[in-house]
Amino acid sequence: MRGKVRKLSPPSERQATGGRMQVPLRPEIDTGTGATSGERARAMIEIASVSKRFETSGRKSHLALSDINLTVNDGAFVSILGPSGCGKSTLLYIVGGFVAPSEGVARMKGAAITGPGPDRGPVFQEFALFPWKTVLGNVMYGLRQQGVKRTEAEAQSLRLIEMVGLKGFEHFYPKELSGGMKQRVAIARTLAYRPSVLLMDEPFGALDAHTRTRLQNDLLNIWERDRKTVLFVTHSVEEAVFLSDKVVVMTRAPGRIKQIVDIDLPRPRIRAELLLDSHYQKYVVDIERMIDDGRDDAEHS
C-alpha cells in the first residue's frame, strides 16, 4: 500500500531520471514530451515536505497533511482530488498563506509563503462575498485596495462582470443573487486584482449539477484565454479530469499524495465531445479506481 504512494519530484528531475512518472495511463504520450520542447516550464508553486498537524481538544493532535511534495508550473491547471477530510482545503490554505504548515515550506515563485497576498487569489465554496457591497462594489474592491482610481477600477470591473455573464446585475446585492451568480461574482472579484495564481476550493461544490456544468465551461473558457495558474480543489473526478492538466489524487488521514495523473487531453476542451472521448472516460475510470483502492487500503489497515 505504501509503495503506491509516490512523491512527485520537480519535472526537470523526473525527466532527467527518465522516470515513468506517476502516471500509468497512456505512458506513450507523457514520456519525454517536456524535454523535447526545450523550453522548461517555470515552477509557480512549490510545496516541499509540507505537513500539517492540528492541535485538537484534549491534547490529541490530528495529522491532516503528511509530507506533501508538489510543484505547480506556471500556467498549469492542477486539481487536487480526494475524499472529504483528506486535507485538500488545508493544502490550498497553506498555499494561500492563510494557514501555516507545521513542517516543510510552500514557495511562490521561489519565495517562501508567509501570509496571504494579492499574487494568490482565493475562491471559496462559500463565496465569501462582502454582503454590504453590490456586485460592482465587490469586484472593484481589490482594485481600489491596490490604489486604482475609481473610474478606472469601475471600467475594468464592468468588463469582468460582463465576462462572467452578469451584465445587468452590477448593482445587485449578493443576497439578491443565486448561488451560481454569487460564485461568478466571487470569481470576477478575484480575477479583478490579477493574481498570478487562482486558488479554488471546491468553488462549484455548493451548486446544482446544471449550474455547476455551466460554471465549469465558463471557467475553462476564461482560463483558456489567459492561462493563469490554477490550483483547484474538488472531490469530483469528472470535474478534475475535465478541467485539469494534472490531477493530484490524495488519500485520507493523514492526507498524502497517492498519485499524480497528467491529463493529456487536447484543448480547448468541448464538454460534449469530451464525454464521448474514450481517453477521457479512461482517465475518469482509472482515477475512480485509484480512489477506491485507497479506501480498501484504509479499511484493511
Partner: protein, 261 residues
C-alpha cells in the same frame, strides 16, 4: 392592494397609541381618583409643561446627557466589542469584568458614583454610559465573532492589513448586529436617564416628574410620562429608519430590485 397594506402598516403604530390612550381614558374615568387623571387631561397638560422655559430647559438637559452618554458608550463599546469578538486574548481579559457588571442594574451604582462625582452631569452621564455600553459591547462581540473567516481571508488576499480588515470588513459585516445592540442601548439610555435623575434630583425630566409626584401634581406627572414615552418612541423610530438605511443589504425579506428588473 399593496398601497392598502402599506397604509395599514404605516398607521398601525398610530392606532396602537390611540388604543392605549383610549384604554387609559376609560380606566381613569372608571377609577375616578385624583391621582389618575384622564388621558385627555394629561395630554392637555403637555403643552403647559413644554411651554414653561424652566421645564423645557430641564428636559433639554436630560436629552443632552443622554446624547453624550449614548455617543460615548457607542464610540467605546463598538471597538471594544469587535476586538473582543476577533481576539480571544482581548475577550479573555475583559470578559470577567463585564460578567460582573452585566447583571448589576446600572442605576444601583448611582449612589456610589454620586459619592465620587457629585450629583451633577458627570454622574448621570456615566450611568447612562454604563447602561448603554453593555448591550452594545455584547452585540458587537457577537457580530464580530460571527464574521465568516473566508471573508477576512478574501480581504487579506487583496492586501488589507489587520486593522483595515477590522474597519472595512468586520465592522460592516457586524453592523446589523451592532445596530441591534445600539437600539437596545438607546432604550436603556432613556431608562437610565430617568432613573439617574430620580436618584440625583437636580435637573432633568426625571426631576420634574418626581418633584411633581411629591407635590401631588398628577397632571404634570402624567404629562411627563407622555413626554418621556413620546421621546422614546420618536428616538426609536428614527434610529430604526437610520438602521434600515445602513443595513438594507442584510434585510432578509424585501421586494426590492429583483422584481423590478
Amino acid at each position: 392592494m399593496t398601497s392598502a397594506r402599506n397604509i395599514v402598516s404605516k398607521l398601525s403604530p398610530l392606532l396602537a397609541c390611540l388604543g392605549l390612550l383610549a384604554l387609559w381614558q376609560v380606566a381613569a374615568l372608571w377609577l375616578d381618583t385624583e391621582s389618575f387623571p384622564t388621558a385627555w387631561h394629561a395630554l392637555q397638560t403637555v403643552p403647559q409643561v413644554l411651554g414653561d422655559p424652566e421645564q423645557l430647559l430641564n428636559i433639554l438637559d436630560s436629552i443632552r446627557r443622554m446624547v453624550i452618554g449614548f455617543s460615548l458608550a457607542v464610540l467605546i463599546a463598538i471597538p471594544l466589542g469587535l476586538a473582543m469578538g476577533r481576539s480571544a486574548r482581548v475577550s479573555a481579559f475583559f470578559n470577567p469584568l463585564l460578567m460582573m457588571i452585566y447583571p448589576v442594574p446600572k442605576a444601583a451604582l448611582m449612589p456610589v458614583i454620586m459619592l465620587w462625582l457629585g450629583v451633577g452631569d458627570a454622574s448621570k452621564t456615566l450611568v447612562i454610559f454604563l447602561g448603554v455600553s453593555l448591550p452594545v459591547i455584547y452585540h458587537s462581540f457577537q457580530g464580530a465573532k460571527a464574521v465568516e473567516e473566508k471573508m477576512l481571508w478574501s480581504g487579506a488576499a487583496m492586501g488589507l492589513s489587520g486593522l483595515q480588515r477590522m474597519i472595512r470588513i468586520v465592522l460592516p459585516a457586524a453592523l446589523p448586529e451592532i445596530l441591534t445592540g445600539c437600539r437596545t442601548g438607546l432604550v436603556l439610555a432613556l431608562i437610565t436617564m430617568v432613573t439617574s435623575e430620580m436618584i440625583a434630583r437636580q435637573s432633568g425630566a426625571g426631576n420634574i416628574l418626581f418633584n411633581a409626584m411629591d407635590m401631588a401634581q398628577y397632571d404634570t406627572v402624567f404629562a411627563m410620562i407622555i413626554i418621556i414615552g413620546a421621546l422614546g418612541i420618536v428616538l426609536d423610530a428614527a434610529f430604526d429608519k437610520l438602521r434600515w438605511r445602513l443595513v438594507k443589504w442584510a434585510e432578509p425579506h424585501q421586494e426590492i430590485l429583483l422584481g423590478a428588473s
